[in-house]
């Protein structure tokens, strides 16, 4: 009977190592299936996250043969058959145990993003938006928060110190979604510039390459976001216009403080 060898990282914050598990090969399986069979057999305490097992929830992110992928959507028959399959936790986040990492960084960044603030509804109490005007936002809202774009981003991958000043690709598309929302009234550009660290990104597109939802993170998200921030920060006419007109309400918190300090 054909076999597969899974070389799985096992350990905790104190350290760890790869352990080999050789299992019977089963037709049609994905990496997560084999991990589950290891749990049901030789290693019941092997830690991994998963929920839907259908590519919808973004829980089972791991580095498979060195590349961030969802374990539930990576078919075993897409990997080289003669070599052990390397399964490691996402490197950018601290290990909790085995394949499970502490992704709380992402939930903390999410808290710092000022919420969607719509303009008032129309006379019938509802809003009108045309499909063409929301398609960009819908693309970003496909994000399943697997955090693999964050994992692969070199700004924070081996630079823990940058996490304080950098939101990461997942949140740049969230911010671009809000910027592009036809009904939103807040201006978050200074926040994006100063607190979210958009300037750190130098567009290597690694995030786009690993996105399981095939979102054009760099081209449709980060680059337009950079352009908006540049327009707002460095274009003297726009700066003057902003001072005079204040067409959009500024984002609250830090940004307001910056403005009152004479920006």
């Amino acid at each position: 009977m054909a076999e597969v060898t899974m070389r799985v990282w096992r350990g905790d914050p104190g350290g760890g190592a790869f352990t080999d598990y050789t299992m019977p090969a089963v037709e049609g399986e994905v990496v997560l299936d084999v991990i589950h069979r290891i749990q049901a057999g030789p290693a019941p305490d092997l830690a991994c996250r998963w929920n839907c097992k259908a590519g919808r929830c973004g829980s089972c992110s791991a580095e498979i043969n060195g590349i961030p992928r969802l374990m539930c959507m990576t078919r075993m028959d897409s990997l080289p058959p003669e070599e052990p399959v390397l399964v490691a936790p996402m490197r950018t986040f601290p290990v909790i145990r085995d394949l499970v990492t502490d992704v709380s960084f992402n939930f903390e960044v999410a808290k710092r993003i000022p919420a969607f603030t719509p303009e008032p509804a129309g006379p019938d109490g509802t809003h009108r938006m045309m499909q063409v005007d929301i398609e960009r936002g819908q693309e970003f809202r496909k994000c399943i928060e697997c955090f693999m774009c964050q994992d692969v981003c070199h700004v924070i991958r081996d630079h823990e110190e940058n996490k304080r000043a950098f939101a990461g690709p997942r949140f740049f598309i969230r911010l671009m979604e809000l910027e592009a929302h036809p009904l939103d009234t807040l201006d978050r550009r200074q926040l994006i510039h100063r607190d979210m660290g958009i300037g750190y990104c130098n567009i290597t597109k690694c995030c786009t390459e690993v996105c399981p939802e095939l979102i054009h993170i760099t081209d449709n998200g980060i680059i337009p976001l950079k352009e908006r921030v540049v327009d707002s920060s460095y274009d003297p006419v726009a700066r003057l216009g902003r001072r005079i007109l204040r067409r959009r309400a500024p984002a609250p918190a830090d940004d307001v403080a910056v403005k009152s300090a004479g920006n």
Partner: protein, 601 residues
Amino acid sequence: MPDYQTHDFDVVVIGAGGAGLRAAVEAKERGLRTALVCKSLLGKAHTVMAEGGAAAAMGNVWPEDNWQVHFRDTMRGGKLLNNWRMAQVHAQEAPDRIYELERWGALFDRTDDGRILQRDFGGHRYARLAHVGDRTGLELIRTLQQRAVSLDVEVFMECKVLRLLKDAEGRVSGALGYWRATGDYVTFNAKAVILATGSVGKAWLYTSNSWESTGDGHAMALWAGADLIDMEFIQFHPTGMVWPLSVRGVLVTEGVRGDGGVLRNSEGRRFMFDYIPAMFAAETADTEEEADRWYDDHIDNRRPPELLPRDEVARSINTEVKAGRGGPHGGVYLDIASRRTADYIRRRLPSMYHQFMELAGVDITVEPMEVGPTCHYIMGGVRVDADTEATTVPGLFAAGEVAAGLHGANRLGGNSLSDLLVFGRRAGMAASDFAEGRTGTPSPLVSEVERAIAEAEAPFDRQDGDNPYQVHQDLQRTMQELVGIIRTESELVQALDELDKLDERARRVSVPGGRAYNPGWNLATDLPAMLTVSRLAAKGALERRESRGGQTRDDYPKADAELGKVNFVQRLGAGGAFTITPAPIAAMPAELQKLLEEEPS
């Protein structure tokens, strides 16, 4: 005994799917100290997998639609066993809940004039489901998650709740759980607790449900003394994937049929025309021509039989396969490739396209999918007051799938997402009222904490017990084979017997390793709930000697008018024995009764 930390809140919500998030948002907006406790990371709950949409009679596509028609469809889909007041409230309030999501940032697909687009689904007279392609659940959960975060709701992630805690007067006053990351125990003291724990599907082998759906809330409510009703009504979604085996059960949205897909057997026949029940004959097309015209003209044509309620379609598929007219992997064919353009399919059903391409190597724009029934939803659950979602135990509320009543014997597709929003909000309101009215500090009995921790710790103390994974797999096989889509007395009796043995084995499981993120131990602590809900389902199915909605008895193939007037109530009696008793369904006001009697024009 290990130490545990304690947190104090006014309202504690257990479960962070749609219902839990919506309830927490409501309580937090009211200014109460609100905690949201969930078994996974925030945003990963099973709601995220909902595909087709949320049913709400907004009338954006068909102005003829209104809450009365939605009420009628829901009641008929539920074979009239529904709590009529819940069905009424749901139909009336669902549109407001959808518009509210839009104000919180949701981006639903649009009509040509810029309103929220609505799609057709089984059992709904008009196109009624607000949606975002085939990933509506993701939109719903992300919108609510972002709303909860903006309100600063305190979220406790990856915390498994083991028990509800009561005070000396019998009021629910908190909950005990453990952090999955460390295995350390934690208690939440609360003036009111809302259960929003979702489903039970992981007790079955082929299911669309995620690992979290282990019936925790159902079981904890029962253990706390609450009534449960209708536990025999399990929905097998007609279309789950059947191949490869490792993805068997993964959902294929009803939206495929709503958008023009049809079911065929191995002879190429659209077999659903052979299974139109009398109850739906007046509103179902009996020729392919009429059925195909319906997509563009709902007024002068009747619905295709592929869009009958889910119980009817699932049973029909089951019959076709048993008669030898199935596909190579024991399913039937769901074909949209021959009926719609590749562009249309990729635009309307992007996740389905991706899912089949990646997992099965099937291009659904070119070939049919092979599909079969999969355990999807439980209509039964905790008995609640229709307006407040209060359970029969003071201080305890329940909303979403863990609660019962709205869907009767069978849920219509799309009614779940709107259920979460409507009743999540109402549970949040009523729990807030209760918490504000409650005097004194909640003081749960410590003896309950100690007993539950001792039970949870026991698997570490045994050396040669059963493997929890093995017990779980045997449970899934038992429920799949003996309490599946078609049931019969001898098999149900056998199931209860098997459950006794599995109970014994579950009491003797042992796990290696420590408490920190140990899935083997986590599963061991899920087993008691799964075994409890399995028993409730089997007992309910044995007691209800008729076929209706999600309960099909081979030995009682017809609906029984008398049984159509009762819910079966299950609770823990004195000494820990389960009791089951019929309770009459409240009479419906004449004006609602009249809505049911009106035949479609």
